[in-house]
């Protein structure tokens, strides 16, 4: 019974509300106002990419280097690697060509010539005498216009003679192939010898 009355009352209320609302009277009862909620941006997780973006990141020192380490890096250590420029005191002048070289080492300028000539003779020997044959005799190198030194014929028996098709370089002393004593000459001009 009570529910029926309640239902009726509800219907009447609804009619009253809807019909009277057309005329805008009475004002509506208080109710909770509903507003569309605007969502706040969530705080994103921090990544290194936010800072770097398209660029690149360089490694940077984390701590300051000590003074000692900085000086060691700059100048080295006299006991191990000494980076300062020190004057060399072992440089001497070559007696035959006048270039400088270190004491105890062969003069670079002279050696270049000797090396090239040596290579040439070696190539010639290899080319002429070839490989795979038993080597039984010494080699004698002759340049253009040079004859065998005076020796008995038996001495030259079977010697391998290499003829270089060019003149003997001026600096290549022929002393080894010359007689040890020469006839005293008449002329009084002094001939320069062994010049570079």
């Amino acid at each position: 019974m009570i529910s029926r009355v309640h239902q009726l009352k509800k219907i009447l209320n609804n009619v009253e509300k809807n019909v009277l609302q057309i005329f805008g009277f009475p004002p509506r009862e208080l109710a909770m106002a509903y507003t569309l909620e605007k969502r706040l941006p969530q705080p994103k997780k921090f990544t290194i990419k936010d800072i770097v973006g398209d660029g690149i990141l360089l490694a940077v020192p984390k701590f300051r280097r000590t003074v000692e380490k900085r000086l060691k890096r700059k100048f080295g250590s006299p006991d191990y690697v000494w980076k300062m420029l020190i004057p060399k005191t072992n440089i001497i002048v070559c007696n035959s060509c006048g270039h400088y070289h270190e004491r105890g080492y062969i003069c670079g300028h002279c050696y270049k010539k000797v090396e090239a000539e040596t290579k040439e003779i070696q190539d010639k020997i290899q080319e002429k005498l070839g490989n795979l044959k038993p080597i039984e005799n010494d080699v004698i190198v002759l340049y253009n216009g040079e004859n065998l030194p005076e020796q008995p014929k038996e001495f030259w028996q079977g010697k391998r003679i290499i003829e270089m098709k060019k003149d003997r370089p001026q600096w290549f002393s022929k002393n080894l192939l010359q007689k040890s004593t020469q006839q005293p000459s008449e002329s009084k001009d002094v001939k320069p010898t062994d010049l570079a």
């Binding site: 007696n95 000797v114 070696q122 490989n131 600096w171 062994d194």
Partner: protein, 201 residues
């Protein structure tokens, strides 16, 4: 006293031999080291002058010296020597060279059979000590010119001139001194004072 003369049994090298051998590292170990040295010794006997790293040159030099001295000591009819030579010379035609060319060449020498020089350092690139190793009596141009004794070398000409001038100056000084002393002691005998310094010059 039946001891054999030891010096005749063992070949004494004429070069300085260090206490320890160099390792000459190689992935094959000690065998690889010997292989390297064999190659070098073969090259030395073949070409008579080679340029290579200093350590390897110095190490190979000792073996080459030993090989030649053994060959001189025992000759080519000695079986162990032949085996040694066969091991150390990779190219077999060099066996003939060792016994027929090098042995006669070095038989009567009383110096070392090889010579080693320090090669000039490269101005750029790896700073490695290079050496030039050669057999004595090779046909190639000499590496060092020993004409410091040559009278016509420019330095010697200049030095001689300087010495001569210095001597002349000294004599003149002495002559002056003697002249003065004599003038004081014997002012009358002028001719003696003048003649003396001239004789000395």
């Amino acid at each position: 006293m039946n001891q054999a003369d030891v010096t005749k049994l063992v070949s004494k090298l004429r070069i300085k031999v260090p206490d320890q051998h160099r390792r000459l590292r190689s992935p094959k170990g000690p065998e690889g080291r010997l292989d390297k040295l064999r190659k070098t010794v073969t090259g030395l006997i073949k070409f008579e002058r080679i340029e290579l790293n200093h350590h390897r040159a110095d190490e190979a030099r000792q073996y080459a010296e030993r090989l030649i001295s053994e060959a001189i000591l025992h000759g080519d009819c000695h079986k162990p020597t032949m085996e040694i030579a066969d091991y150390w010379l990779l190219e077999k035609e060099l066996l003939h060279k060792l016994f027929k060319v090098l042995v006669p060449r070095f038989e009567n020498s009383n110096t070392a059979f090889t010579k080693m020089y320090k090669a000039p350092k490269a101005s750029s690139g790896r700073n490695i000590d290079k050496a030039i190793l050669e057999l004595r009596g090779n046909p190639y141009p000499l590496l060092t010119n020993k004409h410091s004794n040559n009278r016509y070398l420019l330095q010697n000409v200049l030095l001689d001139a300087a010495k001569y001038e210095y001597r002349q100056a000294k004599y003149a000084e002495m002559a002056d001194k003697i002249g003065k002393n004599e003038e004081i002691s014997q002012p009358k005998s002028d001719d003696v004072a003048k003649s003396k310094p001239i004789n000395e010059v």
